[in-house]
Amino acid sequence: MASIMNFQVNVGAEGGDLTARRFALIMMLVITLMAVPWWGLSHAEVKIAALLGAMSGTLFLMAGLVFLQKTHFAGLILLPGPLGMLALSSVGWRWAAVLFGVVFVGWMVQNLLTRRCGLNQLLGINSCTCDD
């Protein structure tokens, strides 16, 4: 019996889902690394990267909403992820921003490895072409 916690494989290449997820993972990884204080990057630089990430998120969400693609997950991750990191970074909590980014990256990696996504299940999206 499928439920929100126990469900079939629902992540695949259909509707650009897998490609969008890989892009979102790389984007989040870059922003998270940029937010690490060791590199000495300024808040403005992190802000530019975060805004670029959020902009790509809106595009993915638009693609999912209007052009009936299956890129909802990438869109929904890339909106709160970079903007949340930006908010934490703007108040000077850079490590909290990094932790925030790591949580999102971890979530995406787990989804990619198991090919199961709770958000897809919640939205009724299945991008997997497999029969099982």
């Binding site: 902009m55 809106t58 969400l61 909403l65 909106l79």
Partner: protein, 341 residues
């Protein structure tokens, strides 16, 4: 399965919430882009990049943009509001047969589109010339059935132009006076009364439909059609001799006397003729002959011969040529596709 999927896809595409979501995301995207350009402008030296600097300047100039937004929204709203009565008058004054839903919607949208165009052009002569070039490149012409529809279109354009040029008072009076004029003209049957006074009346689609719905006219047309089909069947019958190519239809008040007269005349005129049908209504009725004219004889000669000394028992004679008439081919049977056909 595929049909169900297609239907679902169509339904999903038609959900207005998607459109609302799209615009919300677009607004968010523009807001993010403004922030990005603002940050890029602050962070990096753009002195050497005048165009990028200009973009940044335009993007972060919130007050001027807000002014444009308010002007555009207000003008479009007024354009919409002023064109609605025009659509109502069109709806009220049009007959069911001529009514075009698409035109009503076009009036409203066209007016708003023209407003947008006028705002874009503003006071710039170069933009006005560019618009002329673009319009010439795009085919948007459409043939309207009624000349009055063109007037509606023109009024909608005028309202749109007035709203776009911020001449709101002109748009208001234009909308009110033109709709009132059109309504009064329709209500008073202006042109129609003048024509009736002169003893003329335009025959429109309504008159044609009234004729079709007339019981007597329907029966007459059905009778004529049945007769023609009958004659056509005779003409298409296989025969050892040459096929018949002529028909003679005789309206008679006394069928017996009329048949004797026509038989005698046809045998003396020549050719091969035979009586194929008699439709009787008491003594009155119709005789139908089919056959071939003698070689070198004309239909006019035959009719003249019959009319010469026409007895009072015959009301009318009609000659019909069956040349070139071909029977309808039977419907093609589908090929079973297994090689058995």
């Amino acid at each position: 399965m595929s049909e169900t999927t297609t239907t679902r896809t169509m339904d999903a595409r038609r959900r207005p919430v998607r459109l609302v979501g799209y615009y919300a995301l677009l607004m968010l995207f523009i807001w993010l882009m403004r922030n990005l350009l603002s940050e890029v402008g602050r962070q990096y030296n753009l002195e050497e990049f005048s165009k990028i600097k200009e973009i940044v300047k335009l993007a972060v100039n919130y007050s001027a943009t807000f002014d444009d937004v308010v002007h555009t929204i207000f003008s479009l709203f007024l354009s919409f509001v002023f064109t609605l009565p025009l659509g109502w008058v069109y709806t009220m004054t049009k007959d069911d047969d001529d009514y075009d839903v698409s035109l009503v919607q076009t009036l409203v949208v066209l007016s708003m589109a023209v407003t947008g165009v006028m705002i874009v052009i503003g006071n710039e002569l170069a933009r006005a010339f560019s618009l002329a070039g673009v319009v010439a490149a795009v085919r948007f012409r459409n043939t309207l059935d009624d000349a009055k529809d063109t007037v509606y279109i023109f009024v909608a354009i005028a309202i749109g132009m007035a709203c776009g040029a911020r001449a709101y008072a002109v748009a208001t009076w234009l909308s009110m006076i033109m709709t009132a004029t059109m309504y009064v003209l329709w209500r008073s049957h202006f042109g129609e009364r003048l024509m009736r006074a002169g003893g003329r009346r335009k025959k429109g689609k309504g008159d044609a439909l009234a004729w079709v719905r007339d019981e007597g006219a329907t029966q007459a047309s059905q009778h004529a059609l049945a007769q023609q089909v009958r004659l056509l069947q005779w003409a298409s019958l296989p025969s050892k001799d040459k096929k018949v190519n002529s028909a003679l239809v005789v309206d008679a008040t006394d069928l017996g006397a009329a048949q004797r007269y026509v038989d005698a005349e046809l045998s003396s005129f020549g050719g091969k003729w035979r009586l194929t049908g008699v439709t009787s209504n008491g003594e009155q009725g119709v005789l139908e002959y089919v056959g071939r004219l003698p070689k070198d004889a004309t239909a006019a000669a035959l009719v003249a011969r019959l009319r010469d000394g026409l007895p009072p028992s015959i009301e009318g004679i009609e000659f019909r040529s069956l040349k070139g008439l071909k029977p309808l081919s039977p419907p093609a049977t589908p090929d079973p596709g297994d090689g058995t056909a």
